[in-house]
Symmetry: C2
Amino acid sequence: MSTAEETAGGEPQPWGEVNPDAARRLLVAAVEAFAERGYHATTTRDIAGRAGMSPAALYIHYKTKEELLHRISRIGHEKALDVLRTAADSEGSPADRLAEAVRSFVRWHAGQHTVARVVQYELDALSPDARAEIVTLRRQNEAAVRGIIEDGVATGDFDVPDVKGTTIAVLSLCIDVARWFNAGGPRTPDQVGALYADLVLRMVGAKK
Amino acid sequence: MSTAEETAGGEPQPWGEVNPDAARRLLVAAVEAFAERGYHATTTRDIAGRAGMSPAALYIHYKTKEELLHRISRIGHEKALDVLRTAADSEGSPADRLAEAVRSFVRWHAGQHTVARVVQYELDALSPDARAEIVTLRRQNEAAVRGIIEDGVATGDFDVPDVKGTTIAVLSLCIDVARWFNAGGPRTPDQVGALYADLVLRMVGAKK
DNA sequence: GTCGAGGGTGAGCGAGCGCTTAGAGTGCCC
DNA sequence: GGGCACTCTAAGCGCTCGCTCACCCTCGAC
């Protein structure tokens, strides 16, 4: 996601890489609808309606309803992976890097929970080919987290009996934020990120 | 869930409380189908077919497709809650009780991951009334876990700065097992339960 | 002013959906 | 043996779905 994306900083202006304007409006509408009702319960008429267009207009920009989901899934996964990698590749101790990775990954899943919900829970509405592509991106998430944990174990900063299992648990914990997080609730994405970073450091037995 | 349920011990014989036989077969078929494809992508013809019956037979035992989901949801939630409460109300230190609660709750979500998936991810296919009923059961899950953590904090066995947030995280971690657990994978439900019990004790800073 | 290209619409197609209905088979009570 | 309740089926109704098609705007090039 290093491509041009927003003119002025911040997350509230995503999908900048989708052109033309009508295609982006349709995609944003689809994200909302899929997150609210699920892929299968969403109609193409609903998506077009939210974008202020007729049902037929959707098919000028996308071949099928599934192509919309595929596009959302790929872009969403790439963004999440980018967030994770930036933290994983930063300077600092394994504990710093793990805390930052969890903090930013959770912040993304909370702040962009509509996108995240679609990305995480509608995976098997995709065709086998498209799913395979997404699964590859997902494995890179896992590799990034496992890398940090292995580093910490190697330096003696972490105490982790089961690296693979703990990696799965950490990622699972972060991802599930998208399911329960409520934008109107008492916690901000930042606060959840901070709490989770602390919890994960405990999970890996990080030395103070 | 203290009603008669299995004649000989064990989990592989659930749904014993559903009668008559044809109604149970339909319900089991619905669980499989919903878990595989999701509620909205499952057709009543598919459910009836899996149960070896004609499409119309479904409507002799259930008023609507949604009633099937509602029944599955309620029974599933009640079972999970039962599992959790048994551990929460047992004898022993807060650490013992928390470990046992997580172990058995995770074991259930892994072993019964088809049911758990339906129960956890198809909630908002239900009508508002039915959803409200299920949400009540869910809050009792949270209360049970929070109770143990509060006990541990009170006795000084746990070190938890944010009890409510940590409760959410622990439950979220356990529930998400249903999403990623794969029966053909390398880990058994017991092994995942043991790993997660250890991780959760670390999260609450349990004294050794 | 004409024209072509591309973004848009209204109407509607074939298909599959949830669900209903009329009626057939089966077992039980008297 | 007749009547009844229960279970199940074949056929199909009405509807909405994803998607298509014939046509219409708008706008820049010349």
